[in-house]
């Protein structure tokens, strides 16, 4: 899974990012795209759910159905972004393969395009994944237009079905152009050129969904990439302190002495005692969370996939934070290495 130089996913061109709602899937996809755009590379970050999450993250106007540069990669490089609109993708597809632009707009008026992209089963997914594969394959001046494509994909619960368009479509179209289009898309998605990364928090339910998702992806023979632990909080206590905090046996008197020495007690909160009470409560709370998180991390490690961790950022996510997260990924072997 890693190259001789220890980099993760060296041959992967299409990175599909999924995760349970609320785990920060879009943020992680953006950080991956940035990490892959370092040192003069060019990546495409795609979103497929019409949410405009990318433009909010990069603080740009809403993205049209058009590839735009949204950020520079660290050390030179470019992140382009695209919000894929299934209807526009279908019209583009009709034009590209059937030279049917005029018929396309007639179909659009009849509601056929709406039909094809919302109800005709699998068609929507074929179009979205098809666009990703097209971007991977696109060449320009003898080399690939994009070094990597990162897709902010549907959530974990739907990912296997979303990527496994072949099965969906085969039930409906057993032959014909849609069928062959689906097949050529599947050839890339099932190949080592694709990796599906799963974003999670170290909490019980997201971890369970991640493990279930890996099971479904494996069963569908889809290439599972890394597990990305988002908003990871490094323990602030030593292991001895952690044990005492959990048991409620931290040395209160000694702590009170140290708090007094820290000189944080102002007239507004009358006594050292109240500060110590609050800190002890917070210590126990923290220790409980850490214990739970470590339990969940153990479960993730049993999946035997690379586990990457992104730090929790108390100040929230903005463009600067994305670069910080991209660096964290690079230092864990994802994308190009960080040079000292």
């Amino acid at each position: 899974m890693s190259s001789p130089t220890g980099r993760l996913f060296p041959g992967v061109r299409l990175h599909v990012v999924t995760g349970k709602g609320g785990t920060g899937k879009t943020t992680v996809a953006a950080a991956l795209a940035l990490a892959l755009a370092a040192e003069g590379r060019r990546t495409l970050l795609m979103e497929v759910e019409g949410r405009q999450g990318i433009s909010q993250l990069f603080d740009t106007p809403p993205l049209p159905y058009e590839e735009r540069r949204v950020a520079r990669g660290p050390g030179g490089g470019e992140v382009h972004a695209l919000a894929v609109d299934p209807e526009a993708a279908l019209l583009e597809y009709l034009e590209m393969f059937y030279n049917l632009r005029r018929a396309g707009s007639a179909l659009s008026r009849l509601g056929a395009i709406d039909f094809a992209t919302t109800i005709a089963p699998g068609v929507r997914d074929v179009l979205l994944t098809g666009k990703a594969v097209e971007s991977v394959k696109r060449a320009e001046g003898g080399r690939a237009r994009y070094d990597a494509v990162v897709m902010d994909a549907p959530p974990t619960g739907r990912i296997a079905r979303f990527l496994n368009v072949n099965a969906e479509v085969a039930g409906i179209a057993r032959m014909g152009p849609i069928h062959s289009q689906a097949n050529s898309v599947m050839a890339v998605i099932h190949s080592p050129r694709t990796a599906v990364h799963l974003v999670t928090l170290l909490e019980e339910m997201p971890v369970q969904e991640t493990l279930d998702g890996i099971g479904e992806l494996d069963a569908a023979d889809l290439p599972v990439g890394a597990i990305v632990v988002n908003a990871d909080r490094p323990p602030v206590l030593t292991s001895a302190q952690q044990v005492d905090a959990l048991a409620g046996t931290l040395d209160r008197a000694a702590l009170a002495g140290a708090v007094a020495a820290a000189d944080v007690v102002t007239p507004r909160h009358s006594a050292v005692a109240s500060v110590v009470d609050a800190l002890l409560d917070e210590a126990r709370d923290h220790a409980e969370r850490v214990a739970l998180a470590e339990q969940e991390r153990e479960r993730l490690l049993q999946a035997e996939r690379p586990v990457l961790a992104l730090p929790h950022l108390a100040s929230g996510i903005d463009l600067g934070a994305l670069y910080e997260l991209a660096d964290a990924l690079r230092s864990q072997g994802f994308g190009t290495p960080v040079h000292p």
């Binding site: 919302t118 005709a120 339910m205 702590l255 020495a261 800190l279 917070e282 739970l292 108390a314």
Partner: protein, 403 residues
């Protein structure tokens, strides 16, 4: 920390809502991952233990409510939840929506057996009933309507708590049924269905002619066999369409009726609060009864008077003395840094909540502190319920359940 704007907002009184016998339906809505399912379950448990005969309808395919209630499986029909304190005369049933089964039942109830069988076997129906974006929302509405009629008829429940599907947008719950309705009523469907309707009239011939051209294009794109399946599907489904739209409209009206209350659930994150704002706007526009905002998983802060800056400076003073890692000084420094980090997070969350309240001053708010433990049993749900009903704003007050 200075008192925040949102802490001065109207306080959402959940117990008053639950105790009001005219409250018949509570809809928990919000974007994915904000804790809707847990909130719905907690509201159900609290209502039941305060004497309501409640039923919780959950839609989530991850079966999280089942986990939350300590059940391994929920069925498409409500089942009693054991372990509820019924001393106040209440009870709690719960069910999980089986989207396909609900759809199948509607078809079976409205079509002749032969035709129903043909519909159920059609690949387009199978896709529509399992993967069309919006079917889940539509069927959630359908099930809500059924539960409502059932409770009116048999009196088995006096409160229905609805969890909404985990769509990317909270608005999908309101919009999807209409979208499905307008699709089923659309021009394309009418054209495709035309040959199946009574033939001979002139317009049918015109339509058939244009359908010929149209079919050629479609055949070219999707293949002849797909088109045949599609036409069979549309033809056999045709008579049901009107019924579907009417039912969706009836349930939509039920949502706007007195006795319904929407609880908008959001996490104190930019995306979730943005979705919540959209939803609040939409409820007002459609004159739907909104009870208030549940601000879920707010970072609990003890001792808000000790600012991040002061705590950070204190930690630095202690670290300057280069204490050993297990010394009391190092512990105090770590805990002060932890406190500073929490204060920064809380400040950010308060800022986000303030922006929401500034834009929606009329919306009552209740904050539920993040619990250290995951919620997966009745006791956990009772804690969340107690936090929902807490009379003071949670930030700066002890976290429920703490000693």
């Amino acid at each position: 920390m200075t008192p925040s704007l949102w802490q001065g907002a109207h306080r959402l009184d959940v117990d008053a809502l639950l105790d009001d016998p005219t409250t018949r339906i509570i809809v928990c809505c919000g974007s994915g991952g904000v804790g809707k399912t847990t909130t719905a379950a907690a509201v159900g448990v609290r209502a039941a233990e305060r004497g309501r005969r409640a039923v919780v309808l959950t839609i989530d395919p991850a079966r999280r409510l089942a986990q939350s209630l300590g059940l391994s499986q929920l069925d498409n029909t409500p089942a009693a939840i054991p372990g509820i304190d019924t001393s106040a005369g209440g009870s709690l049933d719960a069910m999980m929506l089986d989207m396909k089964r609900t759809f199948d039942e509607v078809v079976e109830a409205h079509a002749e057996p032969d035709r129903a069988a043909a519909i159920l076997a059609n690949p387009f129906y199978q896709a529509l009933s399992t993967s069309f974006a919006g079917t889940q929302e539509y069927m959630a509405m359908e099930k809500l309507g059924q539960l409502d009629r059932q409770s009116q008829a048999s009196g088995s429940w006096d409160l229905i708590v609805v969890d909404t599907p985990p769509s990317r947008s909270a608005l999908d719950f309101l919009d999807a049924p209409k979208r499905l309705g307008s699709f089923l009523d659309g021009r394309l469907i009418r054209i495709l269905a035309a040959p199946a309707r009574a033939g001979g009239r002139a317009y049918v011939r015109v339509l058939t002619a244009s359908l010929g051209v149209f079919s050629n294009v479609l055949t070219k794109i999707i293949g002849a066999q797909v088109l045949r399946d599609l036409q069979t599907f549309v033809a056999s489904f045709d008579t049901l369409f009107g019924g579907f739209r009417e039912r969706a409209e009836r349930t939509y009206a039920l949502l706007a009726a007195p006795g319904t209350a929407f609880l908008v659930v959001a996490a104190p994150e930019p995306d979730a609060l943005r979705e919540a704002s959209y939803f609040v706007e939409r409820l007002e526009q459609d004159r739907m009864p909104m009870a208030g905002l549940v601000l879920n998983r707010v970072a609990p802060v003890r001792l808000p008077e000790l600012s991040a800056e002061l705590a950070g400076a204190g930690a630095e003073r202690l670290r300057d003395g280069d204490p050993g890692p297990d010394s009391a000084e190092a512990l105090a420094a770590s805990l002060l840094e932890l406190h500073a980090d929490r204060m920064r997070q809380a400040t950010r969350q308060h800022h986000l909540a303030d922006r929401f309240v500034a834009a929606n001053p009329q919306v009552p708010v209740v904050a539920v502190p993040a619990l250290a433990q995951d919620v997966h049993d009745l006791d956990g749900l009772r804690l969340v319920g107690a936090a929902l009903a807490e009379r003071r704003h949670a930030a700066g007050t002890p976290v429920p359940g703490r000693r």
